[in-house]
Amino acid sequence: MKRLLAGFLAVGLILGLSSAVLAADRVYDLSMFEDPTTLNVFSALGPNSTVWNSQVASEIYFPTLFGLAAPTWEFVPAVAADMPSPFVKEQVGGKTLYTSIVKLRKDQKWSDGTPITADDFVFTANAVLEFDPDLIGGNWPSLYPKAALDHVAQVDDYTVKFYLTKIPGLSEWQYGVLQAPFVQKKFWEPVFATARKESTPEARVKTLLAFEPTRQPSGTAWVFGAWEKGAYYRNVPNPYYAGKGEVTTFYENGVVTIENPKSGYKWASGKPEGKVTLRLVEGPYVDSVLFRLYQNQNAAVLALTTGEVDFFLNSLGLQKGFQDQLRRAPNVALVENHTNGFRFMAFNLRKYPFNIKEFRQAVATLIDREYITQTIFQGIAFPLATPVPPGNEAWYNKDVKVFGQGMNRAQRVAEAVRLLKSAGFSWQVEPQVDLAKGTVTRRGRGLIMPNGKLMEPFDFLIQTAGYDPLRNTFGIFITQWMQEIGIPVQAVPTEFNLISTKVFDEQDFDAFMMGWSLSIYPDYLAVFFHSNQTGKSGFNAEGYSNPAFDKLADQFLAETDLNKAIQEAKQLQAILADELPYIVLFDTPMVEAYRSDRVQYPYLHVLGGLQFVKGLTTTVQLLQ
């Protein structure tokens, strides 16, 4: 017993006396919750496409011809010197192709000091097309769309020529291939050569994906530093990064200018007018970025409060309890941003009577989004009525029709009854309301469908409270409101994977609830609702089919003019808000925390939060 106590005391004493070795470098410390899985960009953007591969490793080392300038998300050149030339129709090898030329900047270098040239991009594009983007998987089919991109050729060291089978829309061109990452030919050519020796296309891709590069050249601000799986990941500055010191200026009229004082490179998206809203001078200003792995939010929150990390990198944002805890912590600041996503409910439109528009409109009328988000959720969520969230300002249609807007409970019920009656529904016991008092005086029972049959009970698949308490609560309220007017629904809290299987793979459901995270360019408006996606495993699991919508969606996807695309996106939203294949419900803002005594960011407000811009590693400044 005494020996036992003495042993504990000895260990405690030694531990108490020992102290950690502190690094003297300027290190920007971030927390992460999962390890990246690979350093191979083909794998990271392919089958191993994870949040952490995107934010921490692999993806961030590879340059693109063009990019989106946060926080306004203006389409700007990156390695390209200017915008692509207009398409020209050409006959190439007996085929009619459309060509476009992109000039590259001459000041860009890989981390081994060699210049980034057209040869690198051409090699990547043609290699991906040769190995089949579908087989490599993940994001590659949309980055190098084989249906549109025939091949790419090098005109000279700094000129790339694209050969396309059709004039691509914005989603395939500006928001597709022009933003596709590319690799250094010198490093990757032998890897592809080894993979080519395999006998089948699948084996070739497997060999390519199995390659794990540790010291690969980077074409961006960061180079791989070190990785201890399960503990940390470190990036260090690229000594040849040409972007260091580059000034990006945002003007009041939306124009963005880029100026590199070292190389003399200049570019402007238009004629700058009005005040400068933001001026970003590219760094990095730190000696390294260290991502520490914490496998639970409690530990990461404690690490932030004790100053072990500077920023809490979390794609889901902070939960309410952690927000309250961190608000009280000294030297910790919280920032709230719009998220780019939405949560919704949908019916299986292949089934009767869910395919009746008025039925869906009546359900939408019953749902009091404001009541739940403001009263029940106490403002931790905000109501939404269209798939494009208000944070994606340029594309958001704020004028869409919102059923039941501003109505009280009785008015909502009265309006829902009116809508159902107009479509031919009736009741065994019709619901009644007292509009003067704003109350429902009699619950409905026995809803009879327009075909004269009694509506059978159906299941509404909602998330479990453990998985998402907000969606679960919303689902229960919606169920109660539907039941109140006699719609025979029952909420079935279901495990997420099971909902996903029933909805997307089997299409065996009546109604479900789910959510989406979105891209900046809203091509999802077409993808989610186009009738060509109604097959099993398609994105249009609800089975919405509207030829007028399809036509407009096709036009939107093929659109090459940005302003026209915006107008078309708004028209699509207007149709969806009336037809309601999805009843869009709400989303939560992105709340994040950082050490205000340690770091200073050039801006705090951006769609998706600071995590969406990867913690601003190249522009953050350390205060201590």
Partner: protein, 393 residues
């Protein structure tokens, strides 16, 4: 003994086959597959998902997939992880096993040791303050909500008092320029501890035969402890990796203490009950009647026999060490087998989940075999009797 061992080994292989089959089909019964994650990225076309399903062999009939897996498994190939495609499952498990092994073996040993020491003391002082105190404290920790206790200890010792590291299994700043990976240090730690344990086991086994005088035996065993500890310290010091090993040890303290606090009461109460049985035996009474000191009667006569069920329980609990503990690994950010198993199950990474479970299963089955053999070896009253001799008696 040889026949018995062979028969048990045969049973073990059959059990393993049934276990692998059950695990495989239970995992396959989960809705969806790993490619379902692609459904949630509208920029990934359906064709890419279909291609991935084909690549992973998920488009083949389930029975074909099963036979393919079993054939690979029994030829030592655990396949390729879906969630780390195309990384071999073995590679991932090999990375995690040392971390789990060191943490959970240490805590199991410490829990066993603390339980054994306290159990024999409180049994000897039955009804006294120490008995009540240790039982209440032990049962309180035993019934505590584990994650909460862990968080309280982290908050107190790491966040408030700053005595111990906050989380993770190493301090990144110390390891940034380290010439070796943490797994190398884990391997060295396991090897050096196993070496020290082997030395002590040899000493304890040989001393009773070679050294006649009890007082000399005591000095020899104490000397062996000193030599083992000095060897460990000097070996690590000379290697130049002492700071790295110490960093791992300092990160182990909180999880080990938490696990020990939670589980020592089980061993303590088992030991207490076993001791109470033993103290009623005639030979203990005889030892007392001979006028031997209380401590000698307790430790050398009663406790040795009482240890038997505790050792069995210990051997079995060592078997589940490889399963790790998801809660421990998550709360303390200690990435081990438990975490990888959970992630693999959630992501429907069948090869990785099956591989991790198979590995755990093999360890548990082997532990059962060891417990059987150990029991027969430790207790002279138990012997392995052949069926023929059984029939003749």
């Amino acid at each position: 003994m040889g026949r018995y061992f062979a028969s048990r080994l045969g049973q073990l292989i059959l059990t393993l086959f049934i276990y692998i089959t059950l695990v495989y089909f239970i995992l396959q019964a989960m809705p969806g597959d790993i490619t379902q994650a692609l459904v949630f990225n509208p920029r990934i076309p359906q064709s890419a998902r279909a291609a991935l399903q084909h690549q992973l062999g998920l488009d083949a009939p389930l029975v074909v997939q099963y036979f393919h897996y079993v054939r690979n498994f029994f030829t030592g190939n655990l396949g390729v992880s879906f969630s780390h495609y195309p990384r071999p499952v073995w590679n991932i498990l090999a990375e995690r096993i040392p971390r789990t092994l060191l943490l959970f073996t240490t805590s199991t040993l410490l829990s066993f040791y603390v339980g054994y020491i306290l159990g024999r003391v409180i049994a000897w002082r039955r009804g006294g303050f120490v008995d009540y105190g240790a039982t209440v404290v032990g049962v309180t920790f035993w019934t505590a909500f584990y994650p909460l206790l862990a968080l309280i200890l982290i908050w107190l010792f790491a966040s408030e008092l700053h005595w111990l590291p906050l989380n993770q299994f190493i301090s990144p700043t110390l390891w940034l320029d380290a010439p070796v990976t943490s797994n190398t240090i884990f391997h060295y730690m396991i090897l050096s501890l196993a070496g020290a344990a082997l030395l002590l086991a040899l000493v304890y086994a040989l001393v009773p035969r070679w050294v006649r005088r009890p007082s000399s035996r005591c000095w020899v065993t104490r000397g062996a402890w000193v030599v083992a500890l000095a060897g460990l310290v000097s070996g690590w010091w000379a290697s130049g990796y002492a700071a790295l090993a110490w960093d791992i040890v300092s990160h182990m303290v909180l999880p080990v203490v938490t696990l020990t606090l939670i589980s020592f009461a089980g061993n303590m109460l088992l030991m207490r009950d076993s001791m109470l049985e033993t103290t009623r035996e005639d030979y203990v009474l005889a030892a007392r009647a001979k006028g031997l000191p209380d401590r000698v009667v307790r430790d050398r006569h009663a406790a040795r026999t009482a240890l038997l069920p505790v050792v069995t329980s210990f051997a079995l609990s060592l078997g589940s060490v490889m399963g790790g503990g998801l809660v421990t690994e998550t709360v303390f950010s200690w990435p081990g087998l438990g975490q990888i198993l959970f992630d693999a199950a959630i992501q429907a990474d069948y090869p990785l989940a099956t591989g991790a479970l198979a590995f755990t299963g093999i360890f548990v089955l082997v532990a059962h075999l060891v417990a059987d053999v150990l029991y027969a070896w430790l207790d002279p009253r138990i012997s392995v009797v052949s069926s023929e001799s059984e029939a003749s008696t």
